[in-house]
Symmetry: C2
Subunit: 222 residues, 2 copies
């Protein structure tokens, strides 16, 4: 038996979900909430297996509520429902820790299958959204199309020059690079000049940008 908490600011919508969920034996609606704050409170109190969460609500929205419920550490999993297809909030919801994302116009059996999957610890994303998710995934993720080391602009660099490029990427001045690599500033300048020429950057700023775009420089370094 899967226990469910329904969160939606519209009475009618909640009623519809309740009727649907109570029409099958495997789910039980243990509570309802009309806004984010109430959802967080009831989730803590009722400890439902699944929280069916609407995103757009007055007051605390579904995103923030999701974040707090997930952060609370209980075993409740949040299944987010939205009316429209991938809006701004969808990404935020996923980052907030939602276990699923479905459209409100999903067919009843899809919704039930979603609840079942989420309760089992899996995750579900509406097909229409999955495509977008994959597109983004394919673009930004780890080990992007070309491995940093493979980029044609980097292959001509010598090892020392690569070190220099990394140092530039950290935002160090020529003086700092000289100090840390134990070199004279003149030498650093020579190297920097060659690096810029080879990678086709007009100044070290372009080099920094290239480092990040290629994944050579990693966030939170230094």
């Amino acid at each position: 038996m899967t226990t469910v908490l329904i969160v939606d600011d519209q009475d009618l919508q909640r009623f519809g979900f309740r009727v649907l969920l109570e029409s099958v034996p495997e789910t039980e609606v243990v509570g309802e909430a009309a806004h984010g704050a109430e959802a967080v409170r009831k989730a803590a109190e009722l400890r439902p297996d699944v929280v069916l969460m609407d995103i757009r609500m007055p007051g605390m929205d579904g995103i923030e509520a999701t974040r707090r419920i997930v952060a609370a550490g209980g075993r409740s999993r949040v299944l987010v429902l939205t009316t429209f297809d991938l809006d701004e909030y969808a990404h935020a919801a996923l980052r907030a820790g939602a276990s699923g994302f479905l459209l409100k116009d999903a067919r009843p059996e899809e919704l039930l299958a979603g609840i079942r999957a989420v309760a089992a610890g899996d995750a579900v994303v509406a097909p229409a959204l999955t495509r977008r998710l994959l597109d983004e995934y394919a673009h930004h993720l780890p080990g992007r199309p070309k491995d940093p080391a493979e980029d044609p602009r980097l292959t001509s660099l010598t090892n020392r020059e690569r070190e220099i490029l990394v140092a530039i990427g950290k935002g160090w001045t020529n003086g700092e690079i000289a100090a840390r690599l134990v070199l004279s500033e003149s030498t650093v300048k020579t190297h920097v000049g060659r690096v810029l020429a080879k990678i086709g950057a007009r100044d070290r700023i372009q080099a920094v940008i290239l480092s990040y775009d290629l994944g050579l420089a990693r966030p939170q370094a230094d």
Copy 2:
């Protein structure tokens, strides 16, 4: 009617899929392939709506075959099937442009629903894999835990200053910023100075780095 090309190196496996797909009226198996190269050739020749692709195959594997079929630009969509749960190849397959990813032990109706969704231009990912996908998504993707706009260093910036910071993040010189925002270079300098002071950066390079670390600047810009 959805036309399907079955790609798998095991005869028995292909046979199983064929029987399943031919048991319903909505799908038609128009061909089979036993390895990557044959899959690429037949996809080009038969132009199926959906290619059911096994990953592990001798010779050219499913990843490379997927990449080529997608790159060919036809309207065939690739639905990848794998025996195990998220292995190394799964990510590669998604990056290669697959429209879906299911486990071979999926129930028949799940597989058919997947084919239907993929044919319709949507994407599907097996629930068990979706969880992993979301976890990764939540971690490294756009706007990490802290939303860019939320960072204390950015909140004190005025709108204009934020624009300037974005421009700096693109690697533009003061002169370029002046030209693109239709300002005098003096004004730009004034803004840049204030931005650097507010975000605690000693020069524009640190500002660029901050932009990337905060996710304010996105790869491949400009």
